[in-house]
């Protein structure tokens, strides 16, 4: 019961804050909203028993990316005057809303399709041999997932892991090169 309450609270926080992010007229407010969204997603991860991912989400998103975004906002605009967007065009709003709704609808439809029609109380879609809600969660281990993730990253996923490390380095250098002021 408490789990249910926590889940709904976190889900509502995430959904509400994300809507606030995209609707807020002030870019700085949107950034704060984004902070809440990231926190909510981290909570979702915890509820999904992905403790390590949740921690990474906190550290990287909230601690890193968000700070970067804030930094960019501060650096690139006059917070007091420019951050309030001078009204998005109606056309853009309508187009964005339409596309977003269409996507949302499409995803819900896919979900319905994957679960399939309910015959005799049983879903028959490819993702649901039984009730989609009856998918078996994996066994919760008291040790958390860090050991397992480390094992896989250093084993089966070693090559992508290394590739990503190279990509990070490239991104780092690229970012430095792009913002570097010309010496002359």
């Amino acid at each position: 019961m408490i789990a249910n309450i926590v889940f709904w609270a976190v889900a509502l926080l995430t959904a509400g804050s994300s809507i606030f992010v995209v609707t807020s007229r002030n870019i700085l407010h949107a950034a704060f909203g984004l902070c809440l969204t990231f926190l909510g997603v981290a909570g979702i991860y915890v509820l999904l028993h992905a403790d390590f991912v949740a921690a990474v989400q906190l550290i990287v998103y909230v601690g890193g990316i968000l700070v970067l975004i804030m930094f960019a906002v501060m650096f690139s605009s006059n917070v007091v005057e420019d951050t309030a967007e001078k009204g998005r065009s109606k056309l853009a709003m309508a187009a964005g809303g339409g596309a977003a709704l269409a996507i949302f609808g499409a995803i819900v439809l896919i979900g319905v399709r994957l679960t399939g029609p309910k015959l005799d109380g049983v879903f028959t879609g490819p993702l649901a041999t039984a009730n989609v809600n009856a998918l078996t969660p994996f066994a919760f281990t008291i040790d958390g997932t860090a050991y397992g993730l480390g094992h896989y990253l250093m084993g089966q996923y070693l090559l992508p892991f290394e590739v990503v490390s190279v990509l990070l380095l490239a991104a780092l250098i690229g970012a430095v090169v792009i913002v570097r002021k010309e010496l002359n």
């Binding site: 992010v21 991860y45 999904l48 991104a171």
Partner: protein, 113 residues
């Protein structure tokens, strides 16, 4: 047809939430003028994808094969890529700001015909 689970133990709840985040991201990307705002939309989309991966790893690992941590590893990679992307994108934003004194994409339109 479609049933919500009552609490945290249902896959569909998470998928709906992720779809909502995704749609919000799309909306931001399309409607925002501010480059940083668009970047926020992108981050929302990435988060939606991450939620999906973890949720499927939690509930669907025995239906699609693979081990129970694969989805989480994908999410980790997504976070890393998001970080890299954010760094580069924000660097671009700063570079654009340095040259144009604005980051409103409406006004940064040299490439437009």
């Amino acid at each position: 047809m479609f049933e919500f689970a009552k609490g945290p133990d249902g896959l569909s709840n998470y998928l709906i939430l992720a779809a909502l985040l995704f749609a919000c991201g799309i909306f931001a990307m399309i409607s925002r003028r501010n480059a940083v705002g668009i970047l926020m939309g992108v981050e929302l989309i990435l988060n939606a994808a991450g939620i999906n991966f973890v949720a499927f790893a939690r509930f669907g690992h025995d239906k699609v094969g693979g081990n129970q941590l694969d989805g989480q590893i994908f999410t980790l990679f997504i976070i890393v890529l998001a970080a890299a992307e954010a760094a580069v994108a924000l660097a671009l934003v700063l570079a654009v700001f340095q040259t144009h004194r604005t980051i409103s994409l409406d006004e940064v339109d040299e490439m437009q015909m």
